[in-house]
Subunit: 327 residues, 2 copies
């Protein structure tokens, strides 16, 4: 296949850094033992025909015969340039669907090793996990600084969603081999790690997360000018590390925070600009460059300003806003 | 990059017309004979990691040995609920990728018949077909207030893109029957009209545009606190009109401006929150509520602040930034 030198370099960059498929993190139980074949599918929680994903609620019968809940997420994987020729040549069957003038469509059945499915398992799963993945109506909230203090913050503090997995990463108790870059400073440093959603095999859907070593910043709302050194480190060193490891320039990265975040420990998303990443819409994402500029303008910008975010119908925080007559 | 709506519509149009699997149209050669295995891949024209699609430029050697161009589009297919249990039980291999706490990821290799790839062939393809599917690289620009004055504004003024079609709407010379709502005030009024991309047949992809009667506001960059009455009218009256005509509440609308806009006459986008509308990403969209709050904070906010936006490699404005050493 004709391939541009830069594309080739990019690919090799990935492979150099992450040469061990199947490598295991070192913080968990033996994943091989999850009995996928014995999973009984109870319900489709959500699916996307566009993304080629499906979210399942399943149950696994234990030795005692009782069912334990699991969430299983299946996602077809993006095409990999280096496998395309094999895919075209080594298909097991090619079935003509229709033909009209110069256009024709087929179903192509590739050999299994060229067409894997990414499978994510949450097991055992709680009711909260099941709700998290269930499709729901979505509403916009416009939260003032006062609303945050009176409604959102007490709610967040009352929740006990564990972020042990974040501390596992920061302390190298899990996923240590996946770390791309680290600035170890406890207040201004961070760890850069590929997001679970990215398989690192192609750059089109590049997705990394910078996780702050500072543990007292819950979200955008807590940021003041005192955090500018941390934010600038994440922006500049994060871009530098991605350029070095993946040969992707900073001008081709979308670098942003979520508000509300999915977990309350400061982290920043790095996605390929050409990748229409989930959660990069204007109602949830805040460009890190804008955040820095706003904090330079006014240290209290994110304490004072109203912030918009979407909430699903089943989210408890929506109920709190409704009870307060604010939604 | 996402496929253009027209390209998508065109492809889907083909399928609608030829719904019988295996049926052949009567205008083409025998599709069975397209020698897919002999295709030499010359170039990846475009790919989408999110959609799991890839667009290829290939060549097939004829009997005479000369290469004929083809476009081949591969797209992984959405999951089908009825096959899910088979997929989980009858996989050929399940490879553990990583495990951390209750989360684990695997690669699952299903048997070929449960994991087909939709393949669309355009053959023979002309240069026009190749260009149509070729993707452009996209770069982020961070434009300071000075950059706007020195680079972007002179460029915009040098362009002579006609916006007569906008004036035709405002003056009821065209599309008058499509107007949903109007506030006729020449400085604080606007016209609300469905966007061309929305067929108005379902609410899932609701898309309307508010076009300002004020003609001297090119974009976000021109807005000051003097325009707050106009912006508040668009926000409040726009939401009211959409609730009245389409029974969609304001809390289910994403209301935003583009920067850069696609035409330099102030307009505001209203899209269904649940609709993943093109152009609603954080690097291009600005929530109208945020714009209003920022102008209340500082009348000159949008003259002073750096603004980020994406430009495609073939756009003339990118060249201007490159010449100025700013991209």
């Amino acid at each position: 296949m004709a391939e541009s030198p830069s594309a080739k370099k990019k690919r090799e960059g990935i492979e150099e850094t992450h040469g061990t498929p199947g490598a295991q993190g070192n913080g968990g139980s033996d994943g091989d033992s999850f009995p996928l074949a014995e999973l009984r599918v109870r319900k489709v929680l959500r699916e996307s025909a566009r993304d080629k994903t499906i979210f399942l609620h399943g149950q696994v019968n234990g030795v005692s015969g009782d069912g334990t809940d699991a969430v299983v997420i299946l996602e077809k994987t993006p095409f990999q340039e280096e496998n395309i020729s094999d895919l075209l040549k080594r298909h097991t069957k090619l079935q003509l669907q229709m033909t009209n003038d110069i256009y024709s469509t087929y179903l192509l059945y590739p050999p299994p090793q060229l067409n894997e499915i990414k499978t994510t398992v949450v097991y055992p799963a709680t009711e909260k996990h099941l709700q998290k993945y269930l499709r729901q109506e979505v509403y916009l909230i416009r939260e003032t600084g006062e609303d945050y203090k009176n409604i959102s913050l007490p709610f967040i503090q009352s929740q006990s969603f564990s972020i042990q997995w974040v501390y596992n990463i920061l302390e190298k108790k899990a996923e240590a081999d996946r770390i791309i870059y680290e600035n170890p400073n406890p207040s201004d440093g961070f760890v850069l790690i590929p997001d679970f959603k990215w398989n690192q095999k192609q750059l089109d859907d590049l997705y990394l997360i910078a996780i702050s070593h500072h543990r007292e910043i819950k979200s955008l709302r807590d940021l003041t000018s005192e955090h500018l050194p941390l934010l600038r480190n994440i922006l500049e060193e994060g871009k530098g590390a991605i350029l070095k490891h993946f040969a992707v320039a900073g001008s081709q990265l979308r670098i942003y925070l979520h508000y509300q975040p999915s977990y309350y420990h400061l982290h920043v998303h790095f996605t390929a600009l050409s990748y229409d990443a989930p959660g990069c819409s204007v109602e949830r994402a805040h460009l890190l460059s804008d955040v820095i500029d706003n904090l330079e303008l006014d240290s209290q910008y994110y304490q004072k300003r109203a912030l918009t975010f979407p909430l699903r119908a089943d989210e408890a925080l929506l109920k709190k806003f409704q009870e307060a007559g604010k939604a």
